[in-house]
Amino acid sequence: MSRSAATISFRLLGAVLTILVGAFAVFMVMKTAPGDPALVVLGEQAPPEAVAAFHARYHLDAPVLEQFWFWFSQAARGNFGRSLTIAGGTSISGLIGARLPNTIFIGLYGLTLAVIVSLVMGVIAALRRGRAADTVATSIAVLGISMPDFWLSYVLIFALALGAGWFPSYGFVPPGQSLTGALYSGFLPALAISAPMAAVFARTLRAALIDVSHREFITVARSFGFAEFFIFLQFVFRNALIPYVTVIGLQVRYLLGGVVVIERIFGIPGLGSLMVDSAFGRDYPVVQACAITFLAIVLGVNLLVDLVCTFLDPRRSH
C-alpha cells in the first residue's frame, strides 16, 4: 500500500507544481495585455499623480518578477486581491468563493446526467450490436457530439421552457439556498452540457465493451459455463470501465469550457460568467484568478480520475 501512497503524493506534487507554473505563466501573459489598470479604474482623464499613486499602491512600477512574487505570496494565503472594476473593491477570493460552488454544481449535475445516459446507451448499443437499437443509439451519439451545447441550450429553452413551460429559461437558484430549487432551475443547463458529453461517453463505452468482449478471457469464461450476465458484469464491463473512466476525465476540460457559455445563457452566477464579465470590464486580476482556478479544477479532476483508474487497473497499482 505504501507504494500507492507514494504514487499519490508524487502525483499531487506534480499537480501543485503545475499550478504554480501555470499561475506564473498566466500572470506573465496577463502583464502583456493592453491597457493600464490605473486608467481603467480611475478613468482615461485621470491626473498623472493619481496614476502614479495607483501604480505605487499596486506595485505596478516594480520589476515584473517582483510583482509576481508579491502577488503569489498573497495568493498562497488565499488573498487574490480585490476586483478593480466589475465588483469595485470586493475581495476576489470572496467573489470566486461565492461563484465556484454554482459552477461545480452545474458541472457535476451535467456530468451525472451524462454518465447515467451514456451507461444506458452504451450498454444497450453494445449488447444489441449491429441491430436496430445499436444503430439508433450510435446515430443519436453522433448527433449529440455535433450539437454545440450553447445551441442545444436554446433548443431546450425553446421547447421545454418557452414552449412547454416545464422549466425556467433563466434564473438559477443556488444549491446553498435550496437544493430542489437548484436541481429544478439547473436541469436545462445541465442537460445542455450533458448531451455532447453523453454522446462521447456512450461511444467510448460501446467501443470498449465490444473490444473487451472479443478478448480471449471471455471465451475462457464462457467455457467454464459462467452465466452470461455474470460474464458481462465481471469480465466485460469491469474491464471496459478503465477506458470509460479515462475518457470521462479527458472530457472535463470541454465540460468546463461549455459551462462558461451556458452560465451566460441561463444567467447562472458562476465562475464562467465571472470570467466573462471581468473580461469585458478589463478587470485583469479577476480574469487571472479565474483562469488559475479553472486550471486548478482541471488538475484536481485529472488527479482524481488518475487515482480511480489506478484503483481499477491492477496493472498500475501492483
Binding site: 471465451t219 467455457s223 459455463g225 452470461e228 501492483h318
Partner: protein, 328 residues
Amino acid sequence: MTAPVIEVRGLRTSFPVEGGRLDAVRGVDFDLRQGEVLGLIGESGSGKTMTGLSVLRLLPEAAETEAQSLRFKGEDLLQLSDEAFRALRGTHLAMVFQNPAGAFNPAKTIAWHMREIFRRKAARAGRSEEGDAPRDWRAETRRRLAEIGIAQPSRILKLYPHQLSGGMLQRVLIAMVLALEPDVIIADEPTTNLDNIVERQILVLFRRLQKRLSVAIMFITHDMTVAAALCDRIAVMYAGEIVEIGATSDIFHDPKHPYTQGLLATATALTRGGRLREIPGELPGALDAPPGCLFEPRCPHARAECRAARPAMRSLAGERQVRCVLYG
C-alpha cells in the same frame, strides 16, 4: 467397448472472411470414450482448435457450426438451447486453452478465479445456481496448485494474472479445469509453453485423473512425443478433416495415410519435440480448397482419382480409419 462419452458425426464449422467463407472444420467424425485420452494431432491451421471450440459451442456468433450428430452421453447436444448447453460447461465439459496469458480476467486475482471455479462446481452438485464455494475452498485450491507443481500456492492466490509468468498461468489454468472434475476435458496444447519437467508432471496428472475419475480427454497437440506418451488413440487432422484414426501404437508403428507417414518421418528426423515442418508444400488456403483430396498436392502417392473427388473415410481392421484411396 464402452459407449462413447462424446460422439461427433459430420461436424462442420465455417465463418465469413473477406472474399467468402472459410471452412475450418470440414466434416469431422470421432468418438471420445470414457477414461481414454484421444490425441488430435495436426499442423497449426489444420482446424484442431476449431474442432474443440465447435464441440463446446464456444465460437463467436459469426461462425456457423453444424453437425449430423453431436452427443454427450447419448444426449443430443444439437437440440439444446444455449442456456441448457451452458449448464453443461464447467460442470461436465471443460477446456484448457492454449494461451494462458490471455485466459484470465486481468482485473481479478487468482484467488477470485479459483473461488468462481469452486462456485461453479458447487452449482453442479445440484445446489442453487449461484452456488457458494465450500468453506475449505482455499485449502483445496492450495492442495491442487501444489499438486500441479506450484511451490507457494498461498502467495500465488493474492497475485494478479499480469504478475505471473506464462508457464505459471498455464499451470493455474490446468489446475482450475482439473478442480472442476468434469466428464470431458478438451485440452488445447496445454503443455506447449512449459518446460520438460513441468510438462511431465502435468502429463502424469492427466493420466492420474483419467484413471481415477475416468475423465475423457481430447488432447490437442502438434507434439508427437507428448501424444505418443499420453494418448490411447490418435486422430490425425489435416486441413479441417480427420485423415486417420487409430490406436496410438498402431499409428506410430504402422501409419497408413501418406500425411501421417510424412509427419512421423519428420518427427523421427528431428530431435525433441517432433515439430511438423518438413513436408513440402503448404496447407491449402481455406478459400481455395480443391474439389479432390486436400492433401493431394503434397502427396507422394497421388493418383488421378485423388483429384476427382474428396476421399471418404475407410474402415480398416483393429478400429482403424483412413481417408485415402490407397486403402480401398
